[in-house]
Symmetry: C2
Subunit: 500 residues, 2 copies
């Protein structure tokens, strides 16, 4: 009934769906609540409050700031906080000692200058590229230093204040770590592992989606390269996911960075697990994803090959795509199960089908030259189609029996070949009458004053060549991917199985 | 003398260079120091301390947490903090009122439950995708609520505590904002503007670099597609910069998000300045950058066209590249100067040179079919080269005089054409003896068990077709870019100048 306006029931349903998609979200929320309550108990009960006094509120602050989604990130943040606190404490004590030995009138100046110095130096250092991950540490140094030194100056006994605060921060940190690790822990390593497996599947899906869409002659003849919604193709769910792969480098890096802090756990049961290798596989995968992006660019490019022409290599392209997607899926499965079947036979299948595609292009490359001036183009294509099919059978035969030639097929090829040559000839002579001439006289300035580029039809035929050669390049990069996964499997001690 | 080991002098030099590259870094550091000192004065002097008491340390915390690099980001963070504090304060007061009306024994349970609820709900909400930018606000809500409610419970007079703390936070916030805005302000809008202009120039540079490298026949014949350093080509400085464009979406978004908070300033002197439009231009630019990435992928792909073949369209490709780069540079200049010269003539030049490239490909598309079996291939190419040059002159002539044909040139073309046809013929008959056959018998399994894909040479010739058609597609996308910049120029009220 309600279509666009957000109704309460719709809203509740959305939240429910969001929680259901990933149970960890609920777990995380409940764990934060629990940690906060645990730490509040320290104040709600009288005994701990009598010992620590008002400084106990620092425990709460610590929980609120330190509790992160994954175990590794929490450790990392805790490390930053601890290091920052210790460094700030040491420096503050040094400054206080210096101030105490100087004359009382100089004391405020020394303190003021030290605050200025710490503020300026930490702010400068956190801009340094290699120190950016420790940004939080510098923030902690700054405010801890200020707090210790200033409250020490006003309230006396700065070291006692600092120590009390340190205890309560340590309590907060301990509660955070205990709750985070022992109650339904969310491991960054597990997330990284799943993220990588997921990327493999996404890439396979979006490759298949892209190729399928390229070959299907749907209603919308014109590319829906909308100006405003550039990055948003609602009918291509897999594409959006594979776009996520392009931007996944930051996510993988931060997860690997967190995972390094985690003790061995679950399936990842040895020390020095090669998390960095996951990032490397992710990089190779991203390089493959660039090719899929380029394929997708072809699909939505301004210059398009006619659909009839696209059909010419349909079966070969589909074959390559299916084989490549299958390889990706089986790699994903292997990584997921932490096994390693050397994919020789599958990789060989991909190569064979790619080489068939190459041969087919090789043989029919005249298609990229001229197709449009002929009304019989479609009929022509059908002939080629038949020839192409025969050639495939032929290849299979020759695989079995060696070099047998079927004269009738060679004849078919030769015929269509000569027809093309004739068309070529005609084309060559009709050439100078074309568009460059009337481009210069200004007639192509469109109404809104911005001239649009026009593509020659032969260039649009070449767009198919681009598509196929990007696909072939994609397959070529799969070799690297298999290598990278193999290296990962060795370093992470996957179960080795050579089935083929 | 010292090459790799970091010596102190080298280190000082690095820091100096880092500071010199962008003076704002030093400014920022000094400003943070200053703000910290100003806020410490409140405690170092006796008068304000007597009024606010120990709560004054919250001012310091606020400065340390709220001080961000740009004005907009500081406002944004301040808004988050203020909103979070107010929401937490309201909720805390409600809980306290409820607890006061209930029986004293129930009070701790109510307080404990409210802490749990706030912890769980804020943690869950900050995972919600559209609320991620307000992550800090939720963190503030959580710890402010806990602090107010717990310290109120223990120390009595919670509202008084809350108000005192609010005052000191407000003082800290005020100092932060004043220092940040009035002393050498670093505007996010300015940064966004420069970032965009810089992206235009980077893209132009990396396009030129990539094409130049593709056409130059350097020593390293094999592509340096190193397995480990995938994303790292040390000899291509512009490429790395253009890679930054791919990942710039997050930076532009966050800068635009910050810039929205800034009052009109400097050159951006009207309200509701269209910062969102900068992000849109950035998106279109990124779409162009994908093509450059694909071009770069060609440059480093596994399947390569021979360098001799690449030379065939050298002048046309270089022409297109130079025109496109010039267009990009002039767009950058226009945006930078906040002027808008409609780039009709320049865009037309790009189109004309692109159409020449298309024609040249059209005419020489037989090159993509077969070139390799001939020893005379190089000589052949030279003939083509000459023909191509003539054709260009010819095109120019035809632009001037209309449709004049030069028979000798047509002859040259026809000759080379027939030679190619002969080669084609030979190729066609030698076809079945090729690689698919011996692929199946397993000989292509290399030593480390992972079979490598081999490319047919005709496919490698098609790699040049891919390169050129990607270049053409890049130019086609430039139209969109000009449109986007025009829209920006209108919305941001650039000075309109129609020179052409």
């Amino acid at each position: 009934i309600t279509e666009d306006s957000p109704s309460p029931s719709k809203w509740v349903y959305d939240v429910w769906e969001f929680a259901r998609q990933d149970r960890n979200r609920v777990t995380f929320a409940l764990k934060v609540g629990l940690a906060c309550v645990l730490v509040s108990l320290l104040i709600l009960f009288r005994a701990p409050y009598d010992i620590f006094g008002t400084n106990i509120i620092w425990s709460i602050l610590t929980v609120a700031i330190m509790f992160e989604y994954t175990v590794g990130a929490t450790f990392n943040r805790g490390f930053n906080r601890a290091l920052g606190s210790v460094l700030a404490g040491v420096f503050a004590i040094v400054v206080i000692e210096v101030a105490m030995f100087s004359s009382p009138s100089a004391e405020p100046y020394i303190i003021g200058f030290s605050i200025f110095l710490v503020g300026a130096v930490t702010s400068f250092m956190k801009l340094w590229p290699s120190l950016v991950p420790y940004e939080y540490c510098f923030r902690v140094i700054l405010f801890t230093h200020c707090l210790i030194i200033v409250s020490g100056y006003r309230m006396g006994n700065p070291i006692r204040t600092a120590m009390d605060r340190l205890y309560s921060i340590a309590i907060g940190g301990l509660v955070t770590v205990l709750v985070n690790v022992f109650i339904c822990p969310i491991w960054a390593g597990e997330q990284l592992h799943n993220e990588l497996v997921n990327s493999f599947n996404c890439l396979a899906d979006s490759l298949e989606e892209c190729v399928k869409k390229y070959l299907s002659n749907d209603d919308s003849e014109h590319p829906d390269f909308s100006k405003t919604l550039m990055d948003n193709f609602p009918d291509e769910p897999a594409f959006r996911k594979s776009q996520a792969i392009l931007n996944s480098s930051a996510i993988l890096d931060s997860l690997a960075n967190s995972a390094k802090w985690e003790p061995p756990h679950g399936r990842f049961n040895h020390f020095f697990y090669p998390w960095a290798e996951y990032v490397k596989v992710g990089n190779v995968l991203r390089h493959c994803a660039y090719e899929v992006m380029a394929l997708h660019g072809c699909l939505h490019s301004e210059i398009q090959a006619p659909y009839t022409l696209r059909g010419a290599f349909q079966s070969e392209i589909l074959d390559v795509t299916n084989q490549a997607a299958e390889l990706l899926h089986s790699l994903a499965k292997d990584v997921n199960n932490m096994k390693w079947n050397l994919q020789t036979s599958q990789l060989k299948h991909v190569h064979v089908s790619t080489e068939r595609l190459q041969h087919s292009i090789d043989l029919h490359s005249y298609l990229f030259m001229a197709i449009h001036e002929d009304n019989s183009a479609k009929a022509q294509l059908k002939t080629n189609r038949v020839a192409s099919f025969n050639i495939k059978d032929f290849t299979k035969q020759s695989n079995i029996t060696g070099k047998t030639t079927t004269p009738s097929e060679v004849l078919t090829q030769a015929e269509s070949y000569h027809e093309v040559m004739k068309r070529q000839q005609r084309r060559l002579h009709s050439w100078p009458s074309m568009e460059v001439v009337d481009c210069e006289d200004g007639r192509n300035v469109v109404s809104d004053m911005i001239p649009m580029m026009r593509a020659l039809e032969s260039t649009s035929a070449l767009s198919l060549a681009t598509f196929t050669s990007l696909l072939i390049e994609f397959v070529a990069r799969l070799d690297r991917l298999v290598e990278a996964v193999e290296k990962l499997s060795k370093m992470a001690r996957f179960k080795q199985q050579i089935t083929n």
